[in-house]
Structures are given as C-alpha cells and as structure tokens.
C-alpha cells in the first residue's frame, strides 16, 4: 500500500507544478488603486532582425517598381521564446494584390509554408506571423478584415508555436467595493479572484502571481506603403493554455516592436549567426515578386508613358492615379446601373480629406462628362487641384474607352 502511494505521488507531481501558486505580500501602504504597479510579466514583444528588415524592404521596393502602389503581403517565419516573437525571415506567397486589399488562397498559403519547410535554409523556422503593406504612407491601423485574418492565421498555426515559460507578475486590482473591503484581481480574461478583508484598511495588498504557462503567439505587422519599419504597427494574438487545457485567446494591440542586430538575435536564440544573417539572391527575389504577385486592379501613374493600365474592382473598371506630390492614391471608377447604363463616376480616396477631394472630383467629372467646362465651375489655383483635374481628365478618358468605346 505504501509503495502504491509513493508511485501515485510521483506520478501526480508534474500536474501540481501547473497549479497556480499565489503569494501575498503587502509592499507598502496605498490609498488608491491608481498607484504604480511594477509588472514582472511583460506583454508580448516583436523583435525584427536587421536582415529581416533589409529583405522585406527590398521586396517592397521592388514590388512598388513592378506593380505600383498596391497592397502586398509576406509570411513571417522565426522563433518564439517566452514573450518575444523573433521575426527572422519572410516568405513570398502567391497572392492576388490590389488597391487596399490582398488575397492568398488556402492552397497557395500551404504551398508557401511547405516550400519553407523543405528548404534547408528555412526548415528550422516556424510560422510566427504575417506582414502586409498598406498602399499609403503614415502609421497604419488594422482594419476589421486584418483583425479577422490575424485570428484565422493564429488559429491555423498555433500548434507550431507553443512555448512554455514561467511567469511572475504583480496583479493589478481593477475594482473594489465602496467600503474597500472587497478587492478584485484579474489574472486574465477568464480568471479573476476577490480578496476579502475583515475590516477597512488604508492599504491595498499587492499580489504576486506565479504560473507556468503554455502559450502560442502570432504577430501581425502592418507597414505603410513605403515599408518604413519605424512606422510598423504590430498586434499579437495569444493562445494561452489554461491548467485544465482550455485555450484562452487574447489579442494585444500596439505591441512594442524593436529591431535587433543579427548578432544579438543569434545570441538570444543561441543559433549560429549564419541562420540569422540572411543571404538572398536579389535576382531570385525580383523574379518571385514579378511572378507570385498578381495585380487585380492596377496603378496609374501620370508619369508613365503607358499609363493605360487598369483593372477591375467588383466588376467595375478602375483607374488608380498616384501623384508623387500626394501621399495618397485616388481611384476613379465608373458606376453603372444593373442594366449596364452609365450613371456616372465614383471617386475613392484614402486621404483624410477624402471628402473634399471626392467632392472636387465629382464636380469636375460632371463637367468633363459633358465634355464642356461650364463657366460656373470654380477650381482654386492650388497645384494639387490642377493636378487632380488633369489626372481626372485622363482617368475619365481611359474609363470611357474601357466602358463605352
């Protein structure tokens, strides 16, 4: 009987290590919940290697020169340790890209990762995130499509990124009863507990919470159109496995992103520098950029002699105009009714003053469509307005050719 008990104890011990251990400690007298609480536990962090930044910049720059100011996307591979996502390399998937959105088919996404898994240079890297480039400059913000996509990909790849680590953190009280007798502490979205006191005291106990956690992280990076790494927006989807093996999914926005030298990352990951310092053939990357990205809709530059490049969005012909003096592109599209009769033009812009621009263009279009400039039309004398009008004329001419030739 004794032997059986010993065996049982030994067998059970790994499970006990997963039980949260709570230490209570009164650090100092505190009157308010707004006091500063130092946190041992750190939020997820994204670390980009210098090589990764250089390679992604090269891909984006070449993409812009080949396909114009459209969205583009790369899959990110690397390693996760503790709270940190190390982005080491990127993969180019077959993708349909257009103005303000992109699409990678299931099969193409799988093929892209399969190639990486077979390749000796990338076999040791796991999928840790994705990055895409918005077609305009300025710090990007994730759209609801981006958020849904992050979650979808995080769910797809979380089995590869599970990492175990020990965390200790100071829990922050988030609510008290009016009498200050009950203080509530939150461990995460689904776990919280109440601290009950016998009588009112002036201090609030600071609680240290220690736990061995198992979790997977997934980074979603969004770059501005010019690929500036200083303006990258990072969010992280976290799959945290609770002690009873249930999964708690949490999204972290505005995650800190830093760039480390290849040497430092090699030291942190304990990998040889050759695995971090990417050596890529620029010609091969250029060929991949030209071959794998398929524009849907196109980019129109007035500077380009063969500007009559166009595409379709939702079955409407679209011309995209980008002036180097403006940091936003303007889309012009023809509106038809259900029978295909011309109704007019629509103008789309992502600029913050897009309503002004759209109003101006709409007014100009009404005049140009009649092919007469009405005397009552007023256009201010700023360079932008003139250029917009010039571009609009060209755009409308192309659209007319397309739709009603």
């Amino acid at each position: 009987m004794t032997v059986r008990l010993v065996e049982a104890t030994l067998w059970m011990s790994p499970r006990f290590t997963a039980v949260p251990e709570i230490k209570l400690k009164v650090l100092k007298m505190q009157n308010s919940l707004k006091s500063n609480h130092s946190t041992v536990f750190r939020e997820p962090k994204v670390v980009l290697s210098e090589s990764f930044v250089r390679k992604t910049k090269f891909i984006r720059a070449h993409f812009l020169s080949v396909h114009g100011m459209l969205e583009s996307v790369v899959e990110v591979v690397g390693k996760i340790i503790g709270n940190t996502i190390f982005c080491v390399d990127c993969l180019i998937p077959e993708a349909t890209v257009s103005y303000s959105n992109f699409h990678v088919d299931d099969l193409d996404l799988a093929r892209c990762q399969e190639e990486a898994e077979k390749d000796e240079n990338t076999r040791h890297l796991f999928p840790v995130g994705e990055a895409h480039y918005h077609p305009w400059d300025g710090k990007p913000t994730p759209s609801w499509v981006d958020k849904e996509n992050s979650l979808r990909l995080a769910n797809l790849y979380h089995p590869f990124n599970i990492d175990e680590s020990n965390i200790i953190r100071v829990l922050k009280p988030y609510k008290t009863s009016p009498e200050n007798l009950i203080i509530r502490y939150k461990i995460d979205a689904v776990r919280k507990f109440w601290f009950l006191r016998q009588e009112e005291k002036k201090f609030i106990p600071q609680i240290y919470y220690a736990e061995k956690i198992k979790r997977a992280l997934w980074a979603s990076l969004i770059y501005p159109g010019n690929g500036d790494s200083d303006l990258v927006t990072a969010s992280v989807v976290e799959h945290r496995y609770l002690p009873d093996e249930k999964v708690n999914i949490e999204r972290h926005d505005e995650v800190e992103t830093v760039i480390f030298s290849d040497e430092k990352i090699a030291e942190l990951l304990r990998w040889p520098i050759e695995k971090i310092n990417l050596r890529y053939d620029e010609e091969i990357l250029e060929e991949q950029v030209a071959r794998k990205y398929h524009p849907f809709g196109s980019f129109y530059s007035p500077q380009s002699p063969d500007f009559a490049r166009y595409g379709c969005v939702n079955n409407h012909p679209v011309v995209v105009w980008q002036d180097p003096n403006l940091n936003y592109p303007i889309l012009v599209t023809a509106d038809n009714d259900s029978e295909g009769h011309k109704q007019g033009f629509r103008f789309l812009s992502q600029h913050s003053n897009r309503h002004d621009v759209a109003a101006l263009l709409r007014e100009a279009a009404a005049l140009i469509d009649g092919e007469e400039i009405q005397g009552s039309f007023y256009l201010d004398n700023t360079t932008d307005s003139k250029e917009i009008l010039t571009a609009l004329k060209e755009s409308v001419r192309v659209l007319k050719k397309l739709r009603w030739a």
């Binding site: 299931d106 996404l109 990762q113 898994e117 990909l153 089995p159 999964v247």
Partner: protein, 98 residues
C-alpha cells in the same frame, strides 16, 4: 486496394503536424470530416479547406465534401485510383487583408 495499411501525414497550413496509420477497415468506415476533427486538425478553425494528395505526387484534390468516406477521398486523390503508400492531408485557411 493494394495494401492494408495507409500512412497519412497531416499538415496544417503546409507544415507537418502529425501522422497516423490506418488499416483497411478504418479507411472504409471513417469519413474524412470525422477523421480530421478527431485528430485535432480543425481545432480553432472556422473557415478552412482540406487538400489531399499522395505523398509522391504534386497534384492535389480539394476535398469539398467532408462526409465522404476516407476510402473514396484517397481513391480520388490517387493518380490511378488505387490506394497505396502515404498520403498528405493538409488543412489550411485563406489569408487576406485590407
């Protein structure tokens, strides 16, 4: 059917996940949908596609109907209609953004 045992390598998003061996009866009695759910391939995924191919072949089929038996799916994926050797079943999800 030329062999009694068939090895299936599961993948998620193109990455090797786990593998499993099936005997003749299991192949005939299991549906693809039940199989991938039981083995955790679809855990956490709401929208996904399933692709099947023999390990030594590049041509894949999209398994549209998950209620089909594993036997019929593997037979469709085989170049010659014979079930033998190893197969790859890949569950993946579309990637898009705006």
């Amino acid at each position: 059917m030329s062999t009694n045992n068939v090895n299936i390598q599961y993948r998620r998003g193109g990455r090797d996940y786990r593998s499993r061996t099936f005997n003749l009866n299991e192949i005939r009695e299991s549906t693809l949908g039940n199989l991938i759910r039981e083995d955790g391939l679809t855990t956490g995924l709401r929208d996904f596609e399933v692709y099947v191919r023999p390990q030594d072949s590049e041509s894949e089929i999209a398994a549209d109907n998950l209620e089909n038996s594993l036997e019929s799916v593997l037979r469709s994926a085989s170049n010659d209609g014979e079930i033998s050797g190893s197969y790859i079943v890949d569950v993946t999800a579309v990637h898009r953004g705006a």
